[in-house]
Assembly symmetry: C2
């Protein structure tokens, strides 16, 4: 069953920690929505989640991270690092997008709330780009493995970043439409505009010729 994002098995302790983490995030997002990001203090979040303020920092290094945290991240990560090398890159890319659609259906509201915050609060918007840069490095390393180039290769990084930028702008547009349109469709439109698919296949075939 490809292109399905499912939780990873964890020990009892780990699961409990994850639950606390999600509780903190849930309460924090609620408070942010009610009274705004800046007006909400760590103390209030801790009180709502029934932990001490110190404990908050055991789970999230900063107040920003409580918004950025995404429980699907590790799954998406493992999914991306175990891609089939048999299909062309563009096909893999579209496959990933279908996986994304699944997540969207399951967690539409939380994703929208987090995305909106990341859009509206400047420091979060800024931090979000950090995450994108991490993703860029991941994608670049995947491209590197497939083409035999170095992961720090300039062109690979540019391509990876073009991919992510197009995706990001699509998400922005989706939020501007208040989460009502089809996000995955918008992403595909942006990727086509940037002609990312052909560019990826080009890269792959060019490398095959050389080696």
């Amino acid at each position: 069953m490809p292109n399905t994002i499912t939780p990873v098995a964890l020990g009892l302790r780990e699961r409990k920690k994850l639950k606390t983490k999600e509780a903190i995030q849930r309460e924090a997002l609620r408070l942010f929505k009610e009274q705004g990001y800046a007006a909400t203090t760590i103390e209030q979040i801790a009180a709502a989640a029934e932990i001490s303020p110190s404990t908050f920092f055991n789970y999230f290094p900063t107040k920003e991270d409580v918004v950025l945290f995404d429980r699907y991240d590790p799954m998406i990560f493992s999914m991306m690092t175990s891609l089939p090398a048999s299909e062309p890159l563009s096909a893999v890319m579209y496959g990933l997008l279908d996986g994304l659609a699944g997540v969207m259906e399951r967690d539409h509201d939380v994703i929208l709330a987090r995305s909106k915050l990341s859009l509206e609060v400047p420091e979060l918007r800024a931090r979000f780009w950090e995450e994108i840069e991490k993703a860029r490095d991941l994608i670049a390393s995947i491209l590197a493995a497939r083409t035999g180039r170095d992961a720090s290769d300039f062109e690979l990084r540019v391509l990876a970043m073009l991919f992510l930028t197009a995706t990001f702008e699509a998400i922005l547009e989706w939020i501007r439409r208040d989460g009502r349109g089809d996000m995955v469709k918008l992403v595909k439109q942006a990727l086509d505009l940037a002609q990312i698919g052909p560019r990826l296949d080009e890269l792959e075939s060019a490398t095959r010729k050389t080696r």
Copy 2:
């Protein structure tokens, strides 16, 4: 004399303020270099620039902004908003890059210092993207004026962002090479890889046909 970036005329008071602002930035950058960004306090910067700590915040809203501040920004801005509509977009784009080369020659070291900081300090790196998003909106509005589309048009924003992303990755690469290579050349390479030029001209001619 096109493609030359020159200071804008200012009143006496304004010039004095600008001088103070630059002094603060100069001292701050020196201290950051000597003892690191996090280890340098506003108090120290204020002392070095011979102002009170309160005054610091009259000039820069946050510690981060002291790194982000670029005295060429208003010039570049006015340059971009007064582009000739006679030439095709791709030509204008390359023209701008030549202008950039001039600035690089004049202020290579300060630019490198600021860029390095923005690369190495995570919160600055994040903030830098905010600036890029501002630039995106500016470019989108220029494209909008030329094509008769709306400035919030999805495709325009994607294109503008692709342009900036390519440029940004080129600058990153330039810093990774410690400012030794030809930055403008790298930028052109990235833009060609993304095929931004053709894409821009495509957009323009497509619009002409329609109206």
